[in-house]
């Protein structure tokens, strides 16, 4: 058992080349903050990027930041904070949800998982913010793609491929990401409703209005109790929340317009900047399901927003079912008290026909070995997926089986 902790890209190359030469697969990880996502990787050896640290380049006026893959998000966010900038896709901190610590994730891990927060509906996903990278593929070869500029169509866009590949194609060593200004102010319009169908209609109307909504979620009453934010905790109904960000004069105007637009749906309310900046991270990090002692399995379901109520209708009766919606209904977070099979068949059956996908984000190691964690692929996509894996990692030395059995 070797746990390689390379300190530079050359050492990553040496370790992967050795693994290829010995036919000794490696578990690829950063700080381990998301290692409980995906199928268990049962390799004797491991490589982690946590010694590859440091911000190499940060040019706020060029809107770019370049850092080693193992740089912690805490370090990156602190640097961005100083210049009033951010990674606009709102990287998730899944530590508490996965019964670990908060704030330990790395930039490489965030990108490899392509997990984005509430603002994804407005500014895109993690995959839309990776501009370039250096990596070592499973062939034991160092390669790069992309660059350090916003607009680049030179060659295939391998940045997209690396995002969401969970370390199965290459070990990224250095990444360049697009950063954006943080808004001066934010306001969140709250609309009280218990009805899922109505909640999606409210979010639709909000998103379809010209007020630049950067977050649209609905939490049922039972969930509001577990969000520790004034005006949210202890409400007697569920809440739709619509976030507006920008200059002060603009957000107050838009909040007033939005409340006027939605007033017929029910009582409206408002969160200002400081409360909003507690509320949205709670949604982003799935805090309502992250309380100590909550052992339920957690699913992340991406669907067309208009289909969310029908899907929830089907899943509502399952044991311990509790759900809330983000992305205007396009993202459903579902907790189930079904430890043995995770409700996988029911969840996938409910999503089937609507063209979305479901990922098991929290489940025991045994469960993650027993049911497909990632959405099973159509035959055509599966074939391409297998060939892509073979082209980057023909001997399956990088995170074998983490995403799909046999991949």
């Amino acid at each position: 058992m070797s746990n390689f902790a390379p300190e530079n890209a050359q050492q990553v190359l040496d370790a992967v080349a050795w693994a290829v030469s010995e036919g000794a697969p490696l578990q690829v990880r950063g700080s381990n903050s998301k290692s409980a996502i995906g199928r268990p990787v049962n390799t004797e050896h491991e490589i982690n990027t946590s010694n590859l640290t440091g911000i190499r380049l940060y040019e706020p006026e060029e809107l770019i930041l370049q850092a080693e893959a193992g740089t912690t998000m805490a370090e990156i966010e602190a640097a961005l904070d100083e210049k009033n900038q951010q990674l606009a896709f709102e990287p998730m901190d899944l530590g508490p949800l996965l019964q670990g610590e908060s704030g330990t994730g790395t930039l490489g891990g965030v990108i490899a998982g392509n997990l984005s927060g509430p603002r994804r509906i407005r500014v895109g996903a993690a995959r839309d913010h990776l501009l370039g990278f250096d990596a070592v593929s499973g062939r034991g070869e160092a390669f790069k793609s992309g660059g350090r500029v916003m607009k680049n169509v030179t060659g295939y866009d391998l940045c997209k491929l690396m995002c969401g590949s969970w370390g199965t194609l290459g070990v990224m060593t250095r990444l360049t990401v697009k950063v954006l200004p943080r808004a001066e102010k934010e306001r969140t319009v709250l609309v009280h409703t218990d009805d899922r169908q109505q909640a999606v209609a409210i979010m639709r109307d909000g998103l379809n209005a010209p007020y630049d909504v950067t977050g649209a979620c609905w939490v049922p009453r039972s969930v509001t109790a577990r969000i520790d934010v004034e005006h949210v905790t202890g409400t007697d109904t569920g809440l739709v929340a619509l976030r507006l960000e920008g200059p002060d004069v603009s957000v107050s105007y838009r909040a007033a317009q939005m409340r006027e637009l939605l007033k017929d749906y029910g009582k409206t309310d408002e969160l200002h900047t400081s409360n909003g900046r507690k509320f949205w991270p709670a949604i982003r990090d799935v805090q309502p399901f992250a309380k100590p002692g909550d052992e339920r399995v957690v699913w992340r379901i991406s669907v067309a927003p208009s289909e969310a109520p029908s899907i929830l209708e089907k899943l509502n009766g399952l044991s311990g079912a509790e759900a809330f919606m983000d992305w205007g209904g396009g993202l459903v977070w579902l907790a189930l008290d079904m430890p043995s099979d995770g409700g996988a068949d029911d969840v996938r059956a409910a999503v089937a026909g609507f063209g979305g996908h479901a990922t098991l984000i929290r489940g025991s190691q045994a469960l993650r070995g027993a049911v497909p964690v990632f959405q099973p692929l159509s035959p055509g996509v599966k074939k391409l997926t297998e060939r892509i894996k073979a082209s980057f990692d023909p001997d399956r030395v990088l995170n074998p089986g983490r995403m799909y059995d046999g991949l």
Partner: protein
């Protein structure tokens, strides 16, 4: 420009191949064989290159596309897909021994879904037609390449097209939800849908900008956005492009992301003003158009802030649009910049590099030196927000050797872009035009990793060969491992 050696045997079989294809695409005008009728298809937007295709096929259904591709796969015949043929990099340049597969008949908008803010369209629908279909309801499709009146959405996917609003709204790749493609073996594959983010590997991300080398797009689901409440623009003149560049950096540094931010140099300003009389100041060296869009209150507030920044940067003149008509007049000159330059020179060659914005003064200075060296004039328009530079090289194709000189000048400009930390192409694609410059940016290992991806989709290399990659390599050769079993030492690196 060297293309893969044509297979004479295939060319000799032209008539019989056409007969086979007619059986697969039986509709009227589905297969074009006659030499005179093939001629209009010999080029795309990069008109310096012309090659007569073997046969032109214009299918009408996905089943026909699949049948044609399967036929080509089974018979080892090359295929060049084509949308509207507006590529500026030769992405749809035909092959003598290849079928040109035109998707122009796929011109229907299949569905507009406001509940999910998307539209499902066929690949031959023009970029602008999507916006036209939804604008009465207050929506639009964000990427707006300057060819948007003609270019097709399928081609936009293939090239990952941009436009002037990229900094705020992204390129094509950031505005897609779903694709249907047909691979060369005739398999129809659907990726994504109306939901966000793909399950598994991001195949949509890979296909977007793959320049027709991986699959043929037969359906596209795009995100549509609610049109901003309002838009206003500033027209700012500067004594130097350094000052203009400084202003751009300060606007962004102040946390403002404009909907559009365009720069023109003196040459482009004069050409545009002569052509459309947009009211541009002629006593400045650089002109900046900054457009703010969004809720009215926000736009008014930000316009004032940008004005203050511009004054601080030593702006010689600042005009602020007070009406929609005035805003459009600011843009009229910029939008007419290419044809305006076309008026003052028999020919022009449009380049497309991207640079880190702070390198602009260096690049402009060195480009001026190159201009002297080559004896060719150059006008510059610049998507200033995202660093995408479009130098227009003026030349006369009737003067022997001048096209080659313009091309060499262009190549030097792109090398310069890479040297200062930029890239070969921001939005026009590599195609045949920049193919041989790829090693400026990528080493052999980088390119091999890209080419192996092509092998995953098209192991026989029949789809649009000769584009993007400077060297054709066989997939079997590319797949060979360079590390041999038991030959590497145990790495001497830190372990836990």
């Amino acid at each position: 420009m060297e293309m893969p050696a044509p297979d004479q045997d295939v060319i000799n079989r032209r008539e019989s191949i056409a007969d086979d294809l007619k059986a697969l695409v039986p509709g009227p005008g589905g297969v074009i064989v006659d030499e005179d009728e093939r001629r209009p298809w010999e080029s795309d937007g990069l008109t310096a290159y012309r090659i007569q295709p073997l046969v032109v096929v214009l299918p009408e259904t996905v089943a026909e596309v699949a049948a044609v591709l399967r036929y080509c796969h089974d018979n080892g015949i090359k295929v060049v897909p084509r949308g509207a043929g507006t590529s500026l990099s030769g992405g749809a340049l035909p092959l003598q021994d290849g079928i040109l597969l035109g998707l122009g008949k796929f011109n229907r908008i299949l569905e507009v879904d406001y509940d999910n803010r998307c539209a499902r369209v066929q690949p031959g629908v023009t970029n602008l037609a999507i916006t036209k279909a939804v604008e009465a309801d207050g929506y639009y499709y964000a990427p707006d390449p300057s060819s948007q009146i003609a270019c097709s959405i399928g081609g936009n996917v293939a090239e990952n097209s941009g436009g002037v609003h990229c900094l705020k709204y992204g390129l094509t790749t950031n505005n897609l939800l779903g694709l249907e493609i047909v691979t060369l073996d005739g398999e129809v594959i659907r990726i994504g849908g109306k939901h966000l983010d793909a399950e598994g590997y991001d195949l949509m991300g890979i296909l977007t900008g793959s320049e027709g080398l991986l699959g043929v797009v037969t359906e596209v689901t795009v995100r549509i956005l609610r049109s901003p409440e309002t838009a206003r623009a500033l027209l700012i003149g500067f004594d130097s492009s350094e000052a203009a560049g400084d202003c751009v950096a300060k606007v962004i540094g102040a946390g403002i992301i404009p909907g559009g931010m365009e720069m023109m140099d003196k040459y482009a300003i004069h050409a545009a003003e002569d052509f459309v009389q947009a009211g541009y100041p002629l006593d400045v060296d650089a002109l900046l158009i900054v457009e703010l869009d969004g809720p009215a209150q926000e736009v008014d507030y930000l316009i004032d802030r940008v004005k203050v920044i511009a004054d601080d940067c030593g702006a010689r003149s600042v005009r602020i649009s007070e009406s929609e008509q005035e805003r459009l007049s600011f843009w009229a000159g910029r939008k007419a910049a290419f044809p305006a330059v076309g008026r003052i020179s028999p020919d022009y060659y449009c380049m497309d590099g991207t640079i880190p914005r702070n390198q602009l003064p260096t690049v402009l200075t060195r480009m001026a030196k190159l201009s002297d060296q080559y004896g060719l004039r150059v006008a510059n328009v610049f998507h200033a927000g995202d660093g995408n530079l479009h130098p227009l090289i003026l030349y006369d194709a009737n003067i022997p050797g001048e096209l080659e000189k313009a091309e060499d000048f262009g190549s030097d400009i792109l090398r310069l872009c890479v040297e200062v930390g930029g890239v070969l192409t921001g939005e026009h694609g590599v195609g045949v035009e920049k193919r041989d410059l790829m090693p400026e940016m990528f080493n052999e290992t980088d390119l091999d990793h890209q080419m192996r991806l092509k092998c995953a989709f098209d192991p026989d290399g029949l789809l649009n060969p000769g584009k993007v990659f400077p060297q054709l390599r066989r997939c079997a050769e590319l797949g060979r491992m360079h590390i041999h079993k038991g030959k590497m030492p145990f790495p001497d690196i830190p372990r836990f």
